[in-house]
């Protein structure tokens, strides 16, 4: 049997909104094998960040189960969660707002170690901070710098060092490179990959950039308005995309190659509608080019069409 670090079953999160329930997540299921990366892609408002935060119980799920290392963590108390949290960490999107501007690099990195009482000796703590900075490629001279003195790439390295400081097994990377320039982006992606190989980390990699997940992930899940619409291995998803939304998403990505003829893109009409008080029909029906009568009757379930390839569409 596969060694799964994480299993998510029927996870939903509904927020209360003015005019009813906002369906941020609706019945999401997936598993993450130890040492692997699951990429979660989708556009703004599809619920991808909500997934990341709900798994860590930074947001409480409305219903569903989150099984981490064989333990259902949805019912755990705050104290029990605190013991578990060192194993599950998160790296945030914006290295400008996720760091405390009044703390130095060293203070930021040592905080989680001290909170979890992992190292008490001051000298050992300094050594651990130096080791972590070395691990993420931050020069020692920045140890007493403040975040505003550093560029985005270095700030993101602090965020990574802080996540690594408590020896996690699993990290949620929530758009870790979207705020960075391309040349810096590649530096951070390579760093995350290297750390995974070295430490056997498991990642959930949340992004809107399909080229990035392609480079990074083993499996990919595509989200649309809180639902998982397609899930497959990277080769399968990029080689044989099945859901009409996935196809449009893939064809919309500009490719940095020269082409004599203009590339034919699938252009989706309309925009993502409001996830408040959803109708019964398939959520993608309004923008879908292949919509048929069946699609309006109810939401299609996520079904296996080929081994390991799941699609939620009645008319693929």
């Amino acid at each position: 049997m596969a060694d799964n670090i994480l299993e998510v079953r029927n996870l939903s999160k509904h927020f209360k909104a003015k005019h009813g329930a906002l369906h941020a997540l609706d019945g999401v299921n997936f598993t993450l094998e130890r040492g692997k990366t699951l990429g979660i892609v989708g556009e703004s408002g599809c619920g991808k960040s909500t997934i990341g935060r709900t798994i860590l119980r930074l947001i409480e799920p409305t219903c569903g189960e989150i099984v981490f290392n064989g333990v259902d963590i949805t019912g755990l108390s705050h104290r029990q969660m605190r013991e578990l949290r060192p194993k599950m960490q998160i790296i945030f999107q914006d290295p400008y707002s996720s760091l405390n501007p009044r703390r130095t690099v060293s203070q930021t990195i040592r905080e989680p170690i001290m909170l979890n009482r992992m190292i008490r000796d001051k000298r050992q703590l300094d050594m651990r901070v130096a080791e972590l900075m070395d691990m993420v490629g931050l020069a020692e001279r920045f140890v007493n710098s403040y975040p505003h003195e550093l560029d985005g790439g270095r700030r993101q390295r602090i965020g990574i060092a802080r996540a690594l400081s408590v020896n996690p097994e699993f990290i949620v990377c929530d758009e870790p490179v979207s705020a960075l320039d391309v040349s810096i982006q590649a530096q951070i992606l390579n760093l995350l990959k290297e750390l995974q190989n070295k430490m056997g980390l498991s990642y959930i990699f949340i992004t809107h950039n399909l080229s990035v997940v392609n480079y990074f992930s083993t499996d990919i899940a595509v989200m649309y308005m809180g639902r998982m619409v397609e899930k497959a291995s990277v080769e399968e998803l990029f080689g044989a995309p099945t859901h009409p939304y996935t196809r449009a998403l893939l064809s919309a990505v500009p490719v940095p190659e020269y082409h004599e003829e203009k590339r034919k893109r699938i252009i989706l009409r309309g925009e993502v509608t409001s996830p408040v008080n959803l109708p019964d029909e398939c959520r993608f029906a309004k923008r879908c080019t292949r919509v048929c009568a069946q699609c309006l009757e109810g939401e299609p379930p996520l079904t296996q069409t080929r081994p390991g390839h799941f699609v939620a569409c009645r008319n693929p």
Binding site: V182, S183, N214, A252, P256
Partner: protein, 333 residues
């Protein structure tokens, strides 16, 4: 080349900003031209000087702290840097219009979108208010928004729709030259595809020339005829998209391509450019890219590389090419 074929001609432009930390050398002696009805991509990372170049063309560099030290800019024959403010008002919007990066901040939140489009029409054309409003509604329809929404305020629209409104304002007086500064960076991919398609279509209909500023080489490949690559305020390579994409010459351009994960080639390893962009108040001597360049040699640090033309359309500014046998890795493949 006949001058009337050139819509925008920038010669030896130097833009500086005086700050407390010293003089920021934002644009350092760049020359570039956009041919009539063509699309030129201007590519580079944060701080390369792309937006300063665009603002200089609009004569909108905030002064102080900014100052245009040197250079000339001709927009459809008008020498914009020599113009008085009142003269410039007639050129802006009519000859050259700009689409800004962030549609959330480019619109006035307390005016309806219809009136913001009409404002621009009233400024440039002798029409009645009612006529301008009618044309504003037509413009909205053209960019794919129902004309009845002219009375909506910006907060009632989604990001993609706001950017359509910004495009409508830019195109309502049918300018000859459109400057788009990262027009889709704030948008989702499927919406980006819609907006790019819209710009392409309108450009075709109105025969507009365009300077497209972006950091995304993929967008350049899809939209542009020519491309200039900027680094630390200089153009390091320029040419047709075919020249630059298939016969890349400059080490920085190569570095950009190697940093991009390619959706069609998963096995390709990412080779990031080491180090960081130099501090624009303290640019390194010689070639500004040399500290990060894997091919750098001692003479690269001694003088600024000159533009070297390797074809009718293809220019590279790199000292290593003085050695006739020099090749970058990408061109060996």
């Amino acid at each position: 080349m006949h001058t009337s074929d050139v819509m925008l001609d920038i010669r030896n432009l130097v833009v500086e900003y005086a700050t407390v930390d010293g003089v920021v050398h934002a644009v350092n002696d760049i020359s570039l031209s956009v041919k009539r009805q063509r699309c030129m991509g201007l590519v580079g990372e944060t701080g390369a000087g792309k937006t300063s170049t665009a603002l200089a063309v609009m004569n909108l560099i905030p002064t102080p702290p900014g100052v245009i030290r040197r250079g000339s800019i001709l927009v459809n024959g008008y020498n914009v840097l020599r113009m008085k403010d009142t003269e410039m008002d007639a050129v802006r919007g009519k000859e050259v219009a700009m689409i800004f990066q962030d549609p959330m901040t480019a619109l006035n939140p307390v005016l309806t979108i219809g009136s913001q489009i009409a404002e621009s029409i009233l400024l440039h054309e002798k029409v009645s208010g009612a006529e301008a409003e009618k044309r504003a509604m037509n413009m909205l329809e053209m960019v794919g928004i129902k004309g009845t929404r002219a009375n909506d305020y910006p907060h009632q629209l989604s990001g993609g729709m706001k950017q359509r409104v910004v495009i409508a304002i830019a195109l309502c007086c049918n300018p000859h030259l459109l400057i788009a500064d990262e027009p889709t960076t704030a948008l989702d991919v499927t919406i980006q595809a819609q907006v790019l398609e819209l710009i392409d279509e309108l450009r075709e209909n109105y025969k507009t020339s365009m300077l497209l500023i972006t950091h995304d080489l993929g967008i350049v490949g899809d939209m542009c005829d020519e491309v200039s690559v900027m680094y630390a305020g200089r153009i390091v390579e320029s040419g047709t998209v075919k020249d630059v994409f298939t016969d890349t010459r400059h080490p920085y351009t190569e570095g950009l391509f190697n940093s991009l994960p390619n959706i069609n080639n998963r096995a390709a390893q990412l080779t990031p450019i080491p180090g960081l962009m130099p501090d624009p108040t303290d640019l390194p001597p010689g070639c500004a890219f040399s500290p990060r360049c894997r091919y750098a040699r001692s003479k690269c640090r001694e003088r600024v590389p000159e533009a070297k033309w390797i074809g009718d359309t293809h220019m590279v500014a790199c000292i290593a090419y003085e050695d006739p046998g020099f090749r970058i890795e990408r061109s060996k493949r």
